[in-house]
């Protein structure tokens, strides 16, 4: 039996004005377990708290009920008071008789009656309270960043700057991501390489940062502060520590017909290659799918020309296991496939390209050395049609397009149109748009400049069909403002393809038990207030893996994710919330219902040996909750059919007792 003290606060006249506090204290005196009942002017004041502390000691109280304002206001205060008097802080319950009673009721009689009932409910609950102690877990002071694009780079640099070691895992042979493929960046038009490559060099030179390129995360175990991660370093057949990146091998390799993915297949590379001049790490990689030596054992040219002796045809995949305190997902995006949008003839003509391909065509390091030439015949295009929203905002065709707005297309199309007119004023540029969306600093001004200063033809309408006829692309479109169907003979058509999360994201989300939305973007812990954290503690989101973003937004989100990681890694120990779910293994029937509803992946199942009443042993599959991961929502407690799952602080019998107390009139 508990020994409960009840403390009724007047809150000046805030409570005492409509609730007869003396009557409340008196009425609650006779409730089961109550050994002491008092009222006071201001319980939260120092004098009020002292009164509680003294009563705890004097009456040897095992639990207290404070009838006062909302627990959202002073629950923490009274818990501290209790702790100071040697009482477990979770033995405190608050009856909210101000916000939910005195302030809303005018009549003293009904106010007092309700206050008594609320007090009784709190007493009924305290009777069933048990002391709770928050768990503690250590923090491994190292962060993992998955993805080496601008988001991952920025996050890693910021974390390293705070003094914590960071590992970047990147699937490609180099970091840099999509930004490395871009030509200029809106709205200021600085060249992407000029602002990105110094950051890549910073990453390479930072002692706190390790880069695992050509690698992927294959397994994640553990929880916040204590992740155990397995990284697969794919064999690149070149010793990274020996290769000097001189590039001789990439010039001598006889296999010249490998589609160059960095230029989106618009030209070829060799079987041994360095993706681009400023690659980090600047080491060669052998593409095992094309290398004659690896496929047939006959060639070996690269090994012969390599003076450093870095080539190793015998290399195998390596697996690295490492511990991390925090994981940042920065897996980025890709343009969607244009296969299902062949009304635009992407698969029927080389001169229909995506915007990312256009970037490469205008990039000085691209396949045309920066000259805007038609892929089909290398001629200079005189009429270019840009089509916006290809696959974005596409409700009808969930299987081919995306329902969301890809956000970046309006701006990069304005950039492409403007740069084309700037460099080649003899070119006619048409942009077909549904809406022009430019909410960003200096964004709308940028778009207007494309129209007003550069004379880009913006046409409200959509392209219906592109027909390759001879060396022209016949574009049939609507001009909704003029009320006309337009027929334009274009030389080049550029499609603003929707963007989607990288395909690796889904598998990663499963490994991390981080949730995703229907589009495979990672879900944030709160859409407004916790935008860079995943609901899974210790997992953070950086860049487009969370939703479409341009570079400025990506970088600011990357920094925000880093600051959250730093905040976590600064701690030596993590103190948990003790109000977490707990499974009674004897009652658990192993059905997995709880595991399925848990948004945090806090519940795991394992086989355990149990002694049966007849002294035999039996192996049963039972649930257990990781208190460091559980956030205490209680979804599992309701899903559990056997009643094994319960929530500390809000136990089934506690809530039932409150219901009973309220209903016993």
């Amino acid at each position: 039996m508990q020994r409960i003290g009840v403390f009724v606060c007047h809150c000046g006249t805030n409570i005492a004005g409509t609730v007869d506090v003396v009557a409340v204290a008196e009425a609650l005196k006779n409730e089961p377990g109550v050994v002491h009942s008092a009222e006071y002017q201001y319980m939260c004041s120092q004098a009020g708290q002292d009164l509680i502390k003294a009563a705890i000691k004097e009456h040897n109280l095992s639990g207290i009920v404070v009838c006062s304002c909302s627990p959202r206001m002073h629950e923490a205060t009274f818990r501290k008071t209790a702790a100071a008097a040697g009482l477990n802080p979770y033995m405190v319950e608050i009856a909210n008789i101000r916000e939910q009673c005195s302030w809303i009721h005018k009549d003293m009689a009904s106010g007092t009656e309700k206050a008594i009932i609320l007090g009784k409910a709190a007493i009924a609950k305290v009777n069933l309270n048990t002391p709770l102690t928050p768990g503690e877990s250590p923090v491994t002071k190292r962060a993992l960043v998955i993805g080496g694009g601008i988001a991952g780079i920025q996050t890693a640099l910021d974390i390293a700057d705070a003094g914590f070691p960071v590992d970047i895992v990147e699937t490609k042979p180099t970091i840099g991501g999509k930004m490395a493929q871009l030509d200029k960046t809106f709205p200021t038009l600085d060249c992407a390489a000029c602002i990105l490559t110094p950051k890549m060099v910073d990453v390479a030179q930072n002692e706190k940062i390790r880069i695992f390129s050509y690698s992927e995360v294959v397994d994640v175990r553990g929880f916040v502060g204590n992740f155990d991660v397995t990284i697969k370093k794919r064999a690149r057949y070149v010793k990274e520590d020996i290769c000097t990146g001189c590039g001789l091998c990439t010039e001598k390799c006889p296999q010249k017909k490998v589609p160059n993915e960095f230029n989106l297949g618009m030209d070829n590379r060799r079987a041994i290659y360095i993706p681009f001049a400023q690659a980090v790490p600047k080491v060669a990689t052998i593409d095992a799918d094309y290398c004659t030596m690896l496929k047939t054992g006959k060639c070996g040219v690269c090994a012969k020309v390599c003076t450093a002796g870095a080539i190793d045809y015998e290399a195998k995949d390596e697996f690295i296991e490492e511990k991390y305190g925090a994981v940042v997902v920065a897996t980025g995006f890709n343009p969607i496939s244009m296969d299902k949008f062949d009304e635009f003839a992407y698969n029927q003509s080389k001169d229909v390209i995506t915007s990312l391909e256009f970037e490469r065509l205008t990039n000085a390091a691209g396949p045309t050395a920066g000259k805007l030439l038609r892929p089909s015949d290398g001629e200079h295009p005189h009429t270019i049609v840009f089509v916006q929203c290809v696959g974005s905002r596409c409700e009808a065709c969930a299987e081919k397009g995306k329902e969301y707005c890809s956000k970046i297309c309006c701006m990069y199309t304005a950039k492409h149109a403007m740069l084309t007119r700037d460099k080649y004023p003899d070119t006619d540029v048409y942009v077909f748009y549904i809406d022009v969306r430019t909410p960003g600093k200096a964004f709308d001004e940028f778009y207007r400049r494309a129209v007003e200063e550069y004379g880009v033809h913006y046409i409200k309408g959509m392209v219906g069909k592109v027909s390759p006829e001879g060396n022209k692309l016949k574009v049939q479109a609507s001009d909704l403002i003029a009320g006309k169907q337009l027929h334009i003979d274009a030389d080049l058509v550029v499609l603003a393809a929707a963007i989607e999360p990288d395909k690796s994201a889904r598998g990663l989300a499963t490994m991390l038990t981080a949730s995703m939305d229907t589009n495979d973007f990672f879900t944030e812990a709160h859409p407004k207030l916790r935008p860079v954290e995943s609901p899974t503690a210790g997992v953070f989101l950086s860049g487009t893996c969370q939703g479409p973003k341009d570079i400025p937004e990506t970088v600011s989100q990357a920094g925000a994710a880093a600051s959250k990681v730093i905040g976590l890694l600064c701690k030596d120990k993590l103190t948990g919330n003790p109000c977490v779910a707990q499974s009674d293994e004897m009652m658990c029937n192993g059905c997995s219902s709880c595991e399925r509803v848990c948004p945090y992946g806090a519940i795991t199942y394992s086989d355990k040996e149990f002694r049966m009443p007849d002294r035999t042993t039996k192996i049963r599959r039972v649930a257990s909750v990781n208190p460091a991961v559980c956030q205490g929502c209680g979804a599992c407690t309701v899903a559990c059919p056997s009643g094994a799952m319960d929530l500390n602080g809000f136990k089934n019998n506690q809530i039932m007792a409150e219901v009973d107390a309220i209903c016993k009139m």
């Binding site: 929203c389 065709c397 219906g464 049939q476 609507s478």
Partner: protein
């Protein structure tokens, strides 16, 4: 009058199964339409005018007989609006009225030639008469 218009509008939405509110006004249907030049009101305008209840001009327009039901607009609409079904429903509300058949059996002989496939006559009857 108001009521009759509203009833017709509801009838059009019901028999077509089209929800014109899904339209995001991109104009891809009209960009795609092979009969665009023959039409006074174009597929996107059908969607807009049915949604806003502006039926009278549509019901009187020859445009309702110009749609080929080729379904290019339905195929390419990014929002799944299906303008061709809506145009068909507008046409049906006209020709289902008594004596409003657009194509009458008596007119046929004059239009026949040696090679005309039965399929053409059947289709035209279905589309232009009740």
């Amino acid at each position: 009058m108001e009521n009759k218009n509203e009833r017709r509008r509801e009838e059009i939405l019901r028999i077509s199964g089209v929800n014109p509110r899904k339209c995001m006004k991109c104009g891809k249907c009209s960009a795609t339409c092979p009969s665009y030049d023959e039409m006074e009101y174009h597929p996107h305008e059908f969607v807009y005018m049915v949604e806003s209840g502006e039926l009278a001009p549509l019901l009187e327009s020859k445009s309702i007989y110009k749609c080929l039901t080729c379904f290019a607009c339905v195929e390419r609409c990014p929002r799944g609006v299906e303008p061709a079904k809506l145009i068909e429903a507008v046409r049906l509300t006209v020709i289902r009225e008594k004596g409003a058949n657009h194509l009458k059996a008596d007119d046929i002989p004059a239009k026949l030639d040696e090679e005309i496939p039965q399929q053409l006559l059947m289709s035209a009857f279905r589309k232009y008469s009740k």
